[in-house]
Symmetry: D2
Subunit: 338 residues, 4 copies
Amino acid sequence: MIVVMKPHATEEMVQAMVRRVEEMGLKAHVIVGEERTVIAAAGVKRDRHQTELESCEEVEKVVPIVAPYKVASKETKPEPTIVSTRNLKIGGSHVGVIAGPCSVESEKQILQVAHQVKAAGATGLRGGAFKPRTSPYSFQGMKEEGLKLLALAREETGLAVVTEVMTPHHVEMLSQYADVLQIGARNMQNYHLLQAVGETRLPVLLKRGPSASIEEFLLAAEYILDQGNKQVILCERGVRTFETHTRFTLPLATVPYLHERTHLPVVIDPSHGTGIASLVPPMCAAAIAAGCDGLILEVHPDPSRAMSDGAQSLTPQAFAETMQACRKVAEAVGKELG
Amino acid sequence: MIVVMKPHATEEMVQAMVRRVEEMGLKAHVIVGEERTVIAAAGVKRDRHQTELESCEEVEKVVPIVAPYKVASKETKPEPTIVSTRNLKIGGSHVGVIAGPCSVESEKQILQVAHQVKAAGATGLRGGAFKPRTSPYSFQGMKEEGLKLLALAREETGLAVVTEVMTPHHVEMLSQYADVLQIGARNMQNYHLLQAVGETRLPVLLKRGPSASIEEFLLAAEYILDQGNKQVILCERGVRTFETHTRFTLPLATVPYLHERTHLPVVIDPSHGTGIASLVPPMCAAAIAAGCDGLILEVHPDPSRAMSDGAQSLTPQAFAETMQACRKVAEAVGKELG
Amino acid sequence: MIVVMKPHATEEMVQAMVRRVEEMGLKAHVIVGEERTVIAAAGVKRDRHQTELESCEEVEKVVPIVAPYKVASKETKPEPTIVSTRNLKIGGSHVGVIAGPCSVESEKQILQVAHQVKAAGATGLRGGAFKPRTSPYSFQGMKEEGLKLLALAREETGLAVVTEVMTPHHVEMLSQYADVLQIGARNMQNYHLLQAVGETRLPVLLKRGPSASIEEFLLAAEYILDQGNKQVILCERGVRTFETHTRFTLPLATVPYLHERTHLPVVIDPSHGTGIASLVPPMCAAAIAAGCDGLILEVHPDPSRAMSDGAQSLTPQAFAETMQACRKVAEAVGKELG
Amino acid sequence: MIVVMKPHATEEMVQAMVRRVEEMGLKAHVIVGEERTVIAAAGVKRDRHQTELESCEEVEKVVPIVAPYKVASKETKPEPTIVSTRNLKIGGSHVGVIAGPCSVESEKQILQVAHQVKAAGATGLRGGAFKPRTSPYSFQGMKEEGLKLLALAREETGLAVVTEVMTPHHVEMLSQYADVLQIGARNMQNYHLLQAVGETRLPVLLKRGPSASIEEFLLAAEYILDQGNKQVILCERGVRTFETHTRFTLPLATVPYLHERTHLPVVIDPSHGTGIASLVPPMCAAAIAAGCDGLILEVHPDPSRAMSDGAQSLTPQAFAETMQACRKVAEAVGKELG
């Protein structure tokens, strides 16, 4: 932690700050520059130390040196984490593909699409039974009935089921049906929910909040990891920026950036990341070329009849073509799709 | 709803789309322009109609005409909603002032600051007992013990207690201590939580998410209103933008913009909105001049010893001076502070 | 400058970096922490030193300690700069008011509006003769003819003329007509233009670019100051964020933040900052309460017939009412309007 | 253009608006919905019509139907534009590669790097002689001397020279040395400069401004095209968002989105887009997989001694490895690199 004093801080103020730093059990090094005096504070820091020092009037700013996430850090565990459940493998040389509709709508719909995405090469099945919707007047999902249909689709196809959990008291029930619990972007900082899924031993797919920094994202993962659940999959699904021509802005540099800092695998969601079906195939290819460990995609038998997110859903045929194109890109970067 | 067809849509495609619109129970009007054909669809719309039409391949875009929030809308209820509990009045000609520490830290701390802010003119007391913290390793609040201290401070001062609820199963317990339930920015779209507070009859202070659009913000309020709880206070606390010199960017135009669209009162949080204590007083004055219905502020007896958010907390003395300055601005715009 | 070494940097790498820092003529202080080694580099730095050190492979990051602007800094000149030309006074206890149409459209229009804004209390007249327009097919201004009309309006009313210059070779010509040269937001980093206006001795109103950081904004001012022109007025006109309900997001915290760092006066443009005429009056009041040194506003005799920016222009009557309301707020904060 | 009337607009107001629309030479269609009346205005529109209608008090909003760019639009010219100069081919099946240092620093530096990038497969040479720098105190480039060195490097290697022009009166001089004129991101809306390069017959590489919308980007291209210069290369170099872990946020969905709307080729700049050398190689691969027509990259013989942008520059060896990896990805998507 580097404490930068204000321009005209007196020797006395600097000494008072040094005592303060030492009271925290840290070692203080004073460096007198031409325009500012800075105090480097070394030792085991606690989050509140920074807050406290920043609040001192004679301090201009405090610069942290070490990232605050620990268990998620590559410094803690250098080798990559591979999440594997049923046929779905995410991480290492595997690019897992999770496909399916935004919402489970009927038995016919989910079974049909499950078989279609399986045939095209998917190894995971997505489908929402509990749907977080911006408006209270929108379709909120089939709830437990939808989970049963997902389980049925799994039975028929062998695909791992990935589905969203919205509130802590649903975690137990969903755990009976799901292979991977998904935390939606809106809930990335719903800490009670993160702790609840952290207490299970199911893999968790954690979506980045639309305005979360990478540090906040990894700290959200840390809430899960801290409960002993080590199988966290990070999912970039686009961030909210001034751009309005796409639903969100999809920053693929997240992939290599996270790979430099964390051992957790990184999955891309180009459906939400763009919001436009025709942009999904090129962004799948780009995500793989950027080194991602998996894709999560919306596929609907008839997007124009979908109860949610139709505009960004691929048809089963477009999905099959996308898989073919992506397989070549995966090979070009030394990975295996599906 | 206006459906814009793609440039080279044939007459046949237009007719198919007209049938589709009519199947939805809407009336279709076709307008053939020089470069595009558009279909105006009039009637009672459901959210999913837009989604469905957007997914049709021959459609370029769908433009909604009417905002999707209803109960929150001024079109439903033109006169402003005034929230009043104990001495705290928010709305109409009253600019309510809720002040207190980020976190309840001890009996001494909360009682001291409660008396101080009361003396300076506050009518509500803020203080977190359950704290949503970015890192799992940060101080998480005193929990129920903290709530008891807040109730004690209320008993001594008469200030209305405003405190945050983080998860649905805490709502009942918090309702025993709080006068106003606060939904934090991170939980603005935690729909189960919104519904749970909607089922109480306590006023709810709903913070805008850092990247929520105004429409999403009002739809989050709608989740609460839809449960029959009509006392929703909207709180702007800053949005996340490219600006890093302040903690968030505080867009005060939110105040008059919301006042044009909703009857719900609007409160400003300049502490989180700027993150820097020295910027809080001018932004309080600016918020009042912009027409806000209340302020929520962090005040700590010794900010440099605060367990959270010290850098943005006012000292009791700075708060008292701010109140004095704000009283004049409130008068200048025909309002009453506190 | 603080150089943070990568986690596993060896003693050798640290020593190499120390030599490197010393080659730059800086003094190096090594601080060995538990998780990182940092090197504090004190002395006179040049911009490229940071770049060089950042590029070294064993360096994690370089944290600058001192802001790169000099002449604009309050550390160089603590007392506020007041810009005064004809009746227009900006800074100190004066809140200057510059009003007028987006574009000069005709003699009748500009003379009419000049008299109207003068009567209501404005001391400056804005009006574009050279218009930067997003589309090449939009009205580009009346050019020199427009400048002559502005000069005529000045003659009749005594208002100081503020008008935009778009390219270096126009500077001389515009200087014959203008009292204040305006640099538009799109040109904030058009360095040749900044240098050209820096060579004149006319006050310059420099608009913040829609995504410029405060540091970039002050460095743009520094380009002008560095040429010897000390009369720079900083203008916040809104930044581009994810918000779309207003044209831009107007961050009023810019006002006190800049006042803490620079002696230059700060003017607010709520017309561009919101893009919606009905939001302009409350944001004028808020800007004054936040401590601004001036306002620049669009006023048009008949906004619905304006050739540009009609939606954000006040009618002369709305402007007069706004001035009345603002006068009270200015008094409340100890300032004088106009 | 769709004009949405305010909720309680009377029949009279609607009729007045219809007359207004007809005065503009447009045909008006009135559609009376349950909650709003809308007027569809068909015909040849001029930019100012939208502005005028938006300014009418009884109008809630005006929704444009057709994009305002014309010459850049795929509707005007469906087949893709291919820019070809010396060995550099951008567009069609060619992924052009422009590489070189941020700034020309010396004869030795530019010749060395030119030979190195040529050997690795580049077909264009970048290098700044006139440098737009955020601070007036930073290195501003070698100016004409630098251009001569670029011409020398071209002579020796055959690489096409791409270099930035900052102000209109330099256009003629730069045209003697450059094969492609680059407009930097800061100058995307410097309209006099756009017109000046539009008057030449050299290809222009136009960088997207860091907060420019796609529509503004294409309208900037339109300024060049409108002067008769048809060889415009669009360059995405990252946008400014709340993300700070990378220098900018690089939105690769720009590539397929632009390809759907314009015939102009699209080039990606992952050096500025990320600002971190280690992220450049994966983002090059991702850009190609997303379908881009070219790359522009910073390569420096010794990044840690670079006078600008060292942190984002590849070493010649890293560049050669990147080219090898990219060649495979290009093949996988049916394109040819270089």
